[in-house]
Symmetry: C2
Subunit: 327 residues, 2 copies
């Protein structure tokens, strides 16, 4: 295992110090307990807080800022943050307008966010993100997993909170966006958790894992490697089966790299998925291509489709100023 | 070799179709010959044009837009674009204000840009970028190589052109930024050129290539893998020896991923390099961390330091609206 690190056990901490230094004009990093807040929180709005295991950067810390998250709590690599982190973050950014927790559907995250919510003394609600259509249950999961669609929920609800929507409206919108979002990924390689030091799973040089989870969880099937066209067709078929969109529906198409796949290949996937959507009678009107919800250095990618309403489109377009998403 | 592609020979073309579709509001992609222009070129300003082999994305195509490049010409993977592409790009975006070519110092790029310049009927100048301090000559090079510092030249000169600086001023500034910028990288793995189908070089599981080039060219030395602190110390020593800055100098610190290294590790490098600069009496006032000048899926990173003047700092901060750099 070759990684840029000193002690693997210090990697998250040292990395967060670098994140703090590199983005000092946008965020504050609190070290004990560890959480990130946007510079100059706006206390008159609903506070959006997310979090999860590290190793998926820029999710979630890179999305803290104006128009998106108010705070993010990073755990150790692929390990849920603690209730203590979540409560400290809520105390730092929360107000009488309430706190909305955005939680990816993994047993550890769900349990720890629930423990934090049980101890909250501010008004709160939560949105559970479970956009992964590949698989309904698995070792790390309690039902469908939350993957790259989490960014879409965070961006759209972040814009709604920024314009002043109340807690109930933000919660309702978050559930709506999650319900209109579906994702599925594929891995060509495993990743290596620094403190484990060995690959999370074995995969042959001519194999791929269709429907892989963002921690390397098993997908739908282990398959022989295929050309990109066949891969996109399989992922898009599963996504569109789940979403069952009407013809003419406007959509957001998000191609997400898992960490080790060149941008050139992600754009090729975008082209193929875009064509596929067109053939299915859908209208891709917004796009996002890049490494946003990663699995350390895993080679692979996921496709995410969100069925957009006019309101969701406007909220997607609203200004966002974070370390890793900005327009 | 597992890559998202249909025919490896079509990867650049299909990828550019996806790039065009994903960023239709920011750029136009011209297919024959292949080049990218910003939407609604401003014909009253100096036109900045760059280009080079594909496989380094987002460099250069991702930097086309307001405040940065007017056009970019992508070649095949790790292969110079042709003079024909450069001339077509110049025709599309050039005007009486002149054209500034930004050229990375590789024999093929230099030769082809020179051939294009020999056929230009607009006023033009060029800036040769050679920020890599690792090595003075090599198989693909004619002197120091142009690597991740190219982005810094393109951003700062792009802002100068946008505010109306004339051709001579843009050329002078570009040379100045290049002269005040130094970079050095390290690779943990090779990359695989799609049409070659085999790794560009061999490297053992406990080895690293210090001073690697962005096409996998040999660096200063093949070394045993070391903790991040030792790697950063070696890269920064070479960079600061080259720049010989005065104490108190303000600098830009750019940590660039080569494609296969997680963002978490890049932030750890930022932290270590930032500390190193502080110890050397320098003041990092601007930062950029991410995969910007890549080598396909190579695991590794480079550090770039630019000695900032007040003017350069203001130009760095000026608005930029491109697919991959935006503020």
């Amino acid at each position: 295992m070759k990684k840029f690190s000193n002690l693997p056990s210090d990697l998250v901490y040292e990395s967060m110090l670098g994140f703090a230094a590199a983005h000092a004009r946008l965020v504050n990093v609190h070290l004990d307990p560890l959480f990130v807040t946007r510079k100059n929180p706006n206390r008159s709005k609903v506070a959006l807080i997310s979090g999860g295991g590290s190793g998926h950067e820029p999710l979630h810390t890179g999305f803290v800022g104006v128009g998106m998250l108010d705070a993010a709590c990073p755990g150790q690599v692929f390990t849920s943050p603690t209730p203590n982190q979540m409560l400290a973050a809520a105390k730092a950014v929360g107000s009488d307008a309430g706190v909305l927790f955005i939680v990816k559907n993994y047993a550890g995250d769900v349990m720890n966010f629930q423990m934090a919510m049980d101890m909250m003394d501010l008004e709160f609600a939560s949105v559970l993100v479970n956009d992964d259509v590949s698989f309904d249950a698995g070792a790390h999961t309690a039902g469908r997993r939350g993957v790259a669609g989490t960014l879409v929920v965070e961006k759209i609800v972040g814009a709604a909170a920024e314009r002043g929507d109340d807690l109930a409206a933000c919660k309702r919108l978050g559930d709506q966006v999650n319900g209109r979002t579906a994702s599925m990924g594929v891995a060509f390689t495993s990743c290596t958790v620094p403190e484990a030091g060995v690959a999370t799973f074995e995969i042959g040089p001519q194999e791929m894992e269709i429907g892989v989870g963002i921690h390397g969880e098993p997908g739908r099937r282990r398959a022989a490697f295929e050309p990109a066209g066949a891969i996109v067709a399989e992922l898009m078929a599963a996504i569109l089966k789940d979403l069952a969109p009407r013809k003419g529906q406007e959509v957001l198409l998000h191609v997400n790299g898992l960490g080790g796949t060149p941008l050139m290949e992600l754009y090729l996937l975008y082209q193929l998925a875009n064509e596929h959507l067109g053939s299915a009678g859908l209208v891709p009107v917004r796009s996002l291509v890049g490494n946003y919800t990663t699995s350390l250095e895993m080679a692979g990618a996921s496709l995410t489709v969100t069925l957009l309403s006019e309101e969701m489109k406007a909220l997607w377009d609203a200004p966002v100023v974070t370390p890793s998403l900005r327009w």
